[in-house]
Symmetry: C2
Subunit: 116 residues, 2 copies
Amino acid sequence: MAADELSRVFAALADPTRRDIVARLAVGDATVGELAAPYDVTVQAVSKHLRVLEDAGLVSRSREAQRRPVHLEAEVFDLMTKWIERYRRQAEERYRRLDDVLRSLPDDTPREGNPS
Amino acid sequence: MAADELSRVFAALADPTRRDIVARLAVGDATVGELAAPYDVTVQAVSKHLRVLEDAGLVSRSREAQRRPVHLEAEVFDLMTKWIERYRRQAEERYRRLDDVLRSLPDDTPREGNPS
DNA sequence: TCCTTGTTCAACCGTCTGGTTGAGGAAGAG
DNA sequence: CTCTTCCTCAACCAGACGGTTGAACAAGGA
């Protein structure tokens, strides 16, 4: 293990149930029992999912009597967004440059594969 | 398997080696051999990684003589960004509303961390 | 034709993962 | 204190995952 945070975040969101849990927590905090209700898995399984989300920093749990309300930590999303945007922009920039090069090419440019 | 696309994309990017491959492909297309060189794993392992990325729609492979250049498909990033932004905004909106409620509360509200 | 290069397929292996059941801890309610 | 409720821990299981080795395929070049 010992995966870096970005790996943990991506891995956490790779599971549909966990994405669903995040979606519900975006509406409001909830307890483990409440979160488990809609799914036909045991409460323990949901508890495990929450542990994964917690290790990824996506969720925090406090104590409130017996209940342990789960809270969504939205800041971590920025980590992903930054990573994604970085490479998306880089790729787009590259396409733009390639486009410019193609546009500026003379007609008799030697091209492998298309010697028409 | 038969996981939905979003799950495949997140799962694909959960692996550091695959994120690294994506980073390199953002700079320019490359062959399997070229991509495998920096890592001390076999070329077969990298080929498997590329298959995962391809199934997630993140890369495409064409044929060019013996070589199979790998190309980054940046559009899929939008899928993730949309998902993330949706719930981040929803959560922020919720905090904003909660803030308003707290602000409008009478002063004798018990136990607030920072008076004055 | 045979040979070389680049890549994938197939089988296997150890580990991680999502699920289960069963037991146990924490904090009210009686 | 005992009982109940809510939740987590521990052990286990089947399947997926990342890696390996070895063989095979595809497409030039000799």
